[in-house]
Symmetry: C2
Subunit: 381 residues, 2 copies
């Protein structure tokens, strides 16, 4: 073993190139959001910051389409949002019906089991949506399940599932519903209250185009009641909503829990303001229209989308890698010659698909043209 | 219940004032760090970002004075760093000796218990350091304990404990040691390898003066072995070092775990470069010298430091609130009239003490003079 690193080696400041981010996230961050994030740091208990927190909560309610009081930006990435959903709702011995049709449903199962709960799995093929009939059958088979969990927009496959129907099936059976909206939020329709979702979490680095690192999350009154009625403590101190409510709660004196990532909250606030200015419906329409443009262009290049038209995510396009084309070479050339990032396939789709993101600030004409011409150049040469 | 928040209310961009941050953190963030954080976001799997990660690891090794391979900036605040230490080292049924002399020792106990482990407490008065003789007695009483945990610099009281001696006692007994260095890192001497600490975690918003939200953490080879030898899965998926090692590991293909907070990593990198330029010893000497200046000035104003001279933290000065002075009024006037934040007392010290931070970029002459003159004005009027 070498000795401790006591020496001064001196490297220099990091100056990243300007990449075009068309992978599964992070998406392009607007200069307006970057500028907001670089404003002077103030204290996390400063009354001005507390005011900002209230505005962020209001804007997140708009994004989630909810009146849930407990709607906050969690101080960690989307995978911590997922964990917060499960550790707060579940106690040891509980049963959860988990729908899996890609990587992130599998991660849900991991989370359930690490809570000492059991997961009854509803399995669908990677690339297909969650089948509501299978969920219905699972609910009949497991009437004792406390929670149903599924991924609205599977980031690993580019597939949308019918969240409205899945939520309804769970609610009709009196079960709580956890919805992973990491990639769906503000990119496709999502109505937390109308659909009856109890916990919905997302990430800032997808269709919101805030800085990566924060997980917006919302809890329904029924979810809050379930958390308050727990007999066991939440196994994570950091993610215990009973404690976090004391910091993000309405009106009352905010009590210290942890130091909020102040500048990241500036960034998400600015990104949410941009959403408010554009309007949620307009944002969703833009994602749809740009997806159609990209799809038409890909088709002209002879490239095929992997997902059935009815279930394609406009913000994340799964493209079949043509026979004889080397995945890594193409992505590496796109990055090095065109400063363009597209996503690799994940899990069992590695080497078989690319994932081309048109999320948030990345969803625009310039990016579509850049991507199509770069692909044409690389695949044609 | 009002309906979902569907309306557009339109607020405006947040423009914080320039505060002088002399509380328990966040500390002043240098314009250089803010500028770095606002550089264009690139992908978290981009080869250039992977290179940056390597440099951040190297610089963190310098800050911690360690050669530990597993030395990374965790993608969440210091309290998640604490949780990562406990959930990775502990399995259900383990015993931990926790030394408590303030708020954060109590938080350690919470973490231990939420892991299904038991905490044998070594209690000292708030405002005193951890007593090594009490730890020695506890080790004799609990030879079956797996871990000893303590806080190097208690942020709630401004007290340093003798980390070197406490580590030695634990190592001599063959126990692993967890050291909370949230407030100590680069503000006072800390030698992870020489002292034999197994897990040391910190925060970016204290003496490093990076942006708040990240927790630098390091694991010794013995800690990594203990994690690898676990028979139970780590209860937190997000904080499972077995998985995180796959993303931050050396050389090999980085595997996706979660999306790193890219811009926050830019910020911590720049803050660490500034540390390297100044030099670790010079940073520690600056914190010491500025503490002495502040202490002399406070004494002239008739204000007393609450902690015995031998155990005072130079970076966090606990000041007794004089009889008849209203805590909240003074802090509110300092903030509103002087844009100066000082910290309130925490827990049982609320209303009895202020905590005046001289951490990282906040530790400078201008701030000391500003603080002393503001205190003089407010207390004298």
């Amino acid at each position: 073993m070498r000795g401790p690193n006591l020496e001064v080696v001196m490297s220099s400041s990091f100056h990243p190139p300007v990449r075009t981010l068309m992978g599964p996230g992070p998406s392009d961050v607007s200069p307006r959001v970057l500028a907001a994030s670089a404003r002077p740091t103030i204290g996390h208990l400063d009354p001005l910051f507390v005011g900002l927190m209230d505005d962020v909560k209001r804007l997140l309610q708009y994004a989630f389409q909810t009146s849930n009081e407990l709607t906050i930006p969690l101080s960690a990435p989307g995978s911590a949002g997922m964990e917060a959903a499960f550790v707060n709702l579940l106690e040891c011995g509980d049963k959860v019906i988990v729908c899996q049709n890609g990587v992130f449903g599998g991660r849900m199962k991991e989370n359930v089991e690490r809570c000492g709960a059991t997961a009854a799995m509803v399995m669908d093929r990677w690339g297909d949506p969650v089948d509501p009939e299978k969920l219905e059958a699972a609910i009949k088979e497991h009437p004792d399940a406390k929670v149903v969990a599924f991924v609205h927009a599977e980031t690993s496959t580019g597939v949308r599932s019918d969240a409205e129907t899945l939520c309804r099936l769970a609610k009709d059976a009196g079960m709580l519903v956890i919805v992973d909206a990491v990639t769906s939020l503000v990119g496709i329709e999502l109505k937390a209250d109308e659909w009856g979702a109890d916990v919905v979490y997302s990430g800032t680095q997808k269709c919101l185009s805030g800085l990566p690192g924060i997980s917006p999350i919302t809890f329904s009154d029924a979810a809050v009641s379930a958390i308050s009625a727990r007999t066991q403590k939440v196994q994570s101190w950091f993610l215990d909503m009973n404690l976090i409510m004391g910091y993000w709660g309405e009106g009352a004196k905010r009590s210290y829990h942890h130091t909020a990532p102040v500048n990241a909250v500036y960034a998400i606030h600015e990104a949410l303001l941009m959403l408010e200015e554009e309007g949620l419906e307009a944002s969703i329409a833009r994602h749809k229209a740009n997806h159609l443009k990209l799809a038409a262009g890909l088709s002209k290049l002879g490239l095929e989308l992997a997902v059935d038209e009815a279930w394609r995510l406009p913000q994340l396009n799964a493209v079949r890698i043509p026979e004889g084309v080397d995945d890594a070479t193409v992505r590496s050339r796109l990055l090095n010659e065109f400063d363009l990032e597209v996503g690799a396939g994940l899990g069992e789709l590695a080497g078989k698909q690319w994932r081309i993101g048109l999320m948030g600030s990345s969803s625009n004409d310039v990016n579509i043209n850049r991507c199509l011409s770069a692909l044409e150049a690389v695949l044609g040469s």
